[in-house]
Amino acid sequence: MAAASNATSLESAPRILRLVAECSRSRARAGELRLPHGPVATPVFMPVGTQATMKGITAEQLDALGCRICLGNTYHLGLRPGPELIQKAQGLHGFMNWPHNLLTDSGGFQMVSLVSLSEVTEEGVRFRSPYDGDETLLSPERSVEIQNALGSDIIMQLDDVVSSTVTGPRVEEAMYRSVRWLDRCIAAHRRQDKQNLFAIIQGGLDADLRAACLEEMTKRDVPGFAIGGLSGGESKDQFWRMVALSTSRLPKDKPRYLMGVGYATDLVVCVALGCDMFDCVFPTRTARFGSALVPTGNLQLKKKQFQKDFRPIDPKCACPTCQKHSRAFLHALLHSDNTAALHHLTVHNIAYQLQLMGALRASIMEKRFPEFVRDFMDTMYGDPTLYPTWATEALASVGISLT
């Protein structure tokens, strides 16, 4: 069962989110997701394990960090090793031996962002595989079929993804098509008892289009909603307004998943705006470039200034890297060809993200979320004149003042 009931149709989709606390000022909520592979505390950050692996850290290490849900990418896995093989391996959980939850996206975003030769029609997205040149069609039905084979706990609808910098009729076309594709995904979904299908709100940066999308999609009784089409090249000012608009129109008793968001400030603000779930490649990717995330920003550990810095990355961090190693050692290791350097930083950056979410959650439960936000901003930026305007405005819009 996808949550706890025996419903077989989406007309009474399971309520997988249990709210535990709400901030009395802002829209921040703390809760618990009930998923087939165990509970997940929210707000939650989900690390991205694109190709059935969390980039150099083992399933055991990821579990030890407290991660209970992470992402896989349908586009990549659909090509290599393919859904048939994964099915033989007892699904994606079996293939990568991950005992906790998995969320797979539909492949829509990669189709458009990664592939130069892709063509979108009402049918689906037609594209050429970069590995063998074969042409395939990723339709809503095919995307759900692949995700059914992968067996992830949360699956995403195939949406018509348009870059947030695009304007004009294409945005409207994509929005309405996404609604139609949502219905096709719902109809094609064969494993409603084991996998939760989320809708993805589109509409670009146009408030009217987004509102229309919200109105339509919330008529479909899916277990959760994602806010898509953001976190591209748009300005932060436009970004937060679309997030706020979306959360104001999404049902309170269902999870809100903001896709592609991962910078610390963005996470804090968007939790204030009422989002529950986040994913982003940033923390794991930046680790592999030698960058460690800290409450004041980041440390570029390859730089000479760290050569004799014998402190850990963050003395308050409980992760294995900070417990055992100094910045100086990591600096030396980063200048060698031992990949362990990258793994040390990946472990730390994931720990940083998860610790941040944990701290956010605790502050909501303990009714001190606004203070937490103020402290966070102070630590990150120091001088209030350096606070990003968009963040100040976004927080003000939900009753949190930073002055």
Binding site: Q51, K88, P320, S326, A332, D337, H343, H344, V347
Partner: protein, 343 residues
């Protein structure tokens, strides 16, 4: 540091090096190997993943070549390289060179480390007279042990130098450990042990990892009767395979695939849901399949190196454990025959 021999069988020494470490209470089994590191860290492995491996040697090998540029940093650090690299409890051996990276022969100065034991290096090329001279003279010095240098190279060269090796070790005192550098293949390890060598570097499992390979050679010299039957039935195929791999080995040198491993990049592993080695107790074999490792290699994922390194180290350390066990129970000949058949 004190070597105490339990037994010597046909020139093979079984024993323990005692009184190691700062407090003098650590021991190391011989024959044994050192943990290979790059810049003070096992390749691909963090502390967590390294310690998931069973049988990690008590002594790690650092290479001066990777740490020399941090001399100033370490001086300022003041607390020693062991703590700096996050291995404060480990015994450490520092070699001049990294056995994996080719090094030009030449004159290199050594720094004197007051509280550490110095290992004397035996040189002399392929000239018996020089080798004997080096051995005798070095043995007169107050060194803690001996490094047998210059025996490494491609597979055929070690074979040619085995007699030289025997003559050299015959000149060395029994109660001091003998290390050899650049020799890490299982069959060569056994040949060297038979000629009085005690300690080896463990870079071979690393090389196998880097080419996407997993060590699969058997060191179970006491198989159950069922397995013996299977082995007998398999001798025809085995012979063909052995002949083929012998060709491979002599033609392309040490850096290419050996008969001791499988290449997980091969297509045939794509749907193989067995562990790398059945019965292996390493984290990789207990949790993952050949198909998964194959996928990680095909997609160039970092985790491939991590998981293969875990398995390859554990397998290799298990091999050394079996050598010691075989010596204890006087079964080294069986182990040697088993390895020889697979080489």
């Amino acid at each position: 540091m004190k070597l105490s021999l339990t037994k010597v069988v046909n020139g093979c020494r079984l024993g323990k090096i005692k009184n190691l470490g700062k407090t003098g209470d650590r021991t190391m089994d011989i024959p044994g190997c050192l943990l290979y590191t790059k810049t003070g860290c096992a390749p691909h492995l963090t502390h967590h993943t390294l310690h998931s491996i069973h049988g990690v040697p008590a002594m790690a090998q650092l290479t001066l070549s990777s740490l020399a540029e941090y001399h100033e940093v370490l001086t300022e650090y003041k607390e020693g390289v062991g703590k700096f690299i996050g291995m404060p409890e480990s015994l450490l051996y520092c070699s001049l060179h990294d056995p994996v990276s080719p090094c030009p022969a030449g004159y290199v100065t050594n720094k004197v480390l007051q509280k550490s034991t110095i290992i004397g290096v035996i040189e002399g090329g392929d000239v018996m007279e020089e080798r004997l001279r080096s051995a005798r003279e070095t043995a007169k010095r107050p060194v803690g042990g001996f490094l047998l240098d210059g025996f490494q190279g491609n597979p055929t060269t070690l074979e040619a130098r085995l007699d030289l090796l025997s003559s050299v070790t015959a000149e060395l005192p029994e109660d001091k450990p003998r290390l050899i550098c650049g020799v890490s293949l299982p069959d060569e390890v056994l040949e060297c042990i038979e000629r009085g060598v005690d300690l080896f570097e463990s870079f071979f499992p690393y090389q196998v990892t880097e080419r996407g390979g997993a060590l699969t050679f058997s060191f179970d010299y006491q198989p159950n009767p069922e397995q013996t039957l299977l082995q007998q039935n398999g001798t025809q195929e085995e012979k063909q395979y052995v002949d083929q791999s012998k060709k491979m080995k002599t033609a392309s040198g040490n850096q290419e695939m050996t008969p001791f491993e499988i290449n997980l990049k091969e297509k045939k592993y794509r749907e193989d849901f067995d562990p790398l080695v059945r019965g292996c107790s390493c984290y990789c074999c207990k949790n993952h399949t050949r198909a998964y490792i194959h996928h990680l290699l095909v997609t160039n994922e970092l985790l491939a190196g991590v998981l293969l390194m875990i398995h390859n180290f554990e397998h290799y350390f298990g091999f050394f454990h079996s050598i010691r066990e075989a010596l204890k129970s006087d079964r080294l000949a069986q182990l040697k025959e088993l390895i020889r058949r697979q080489a």
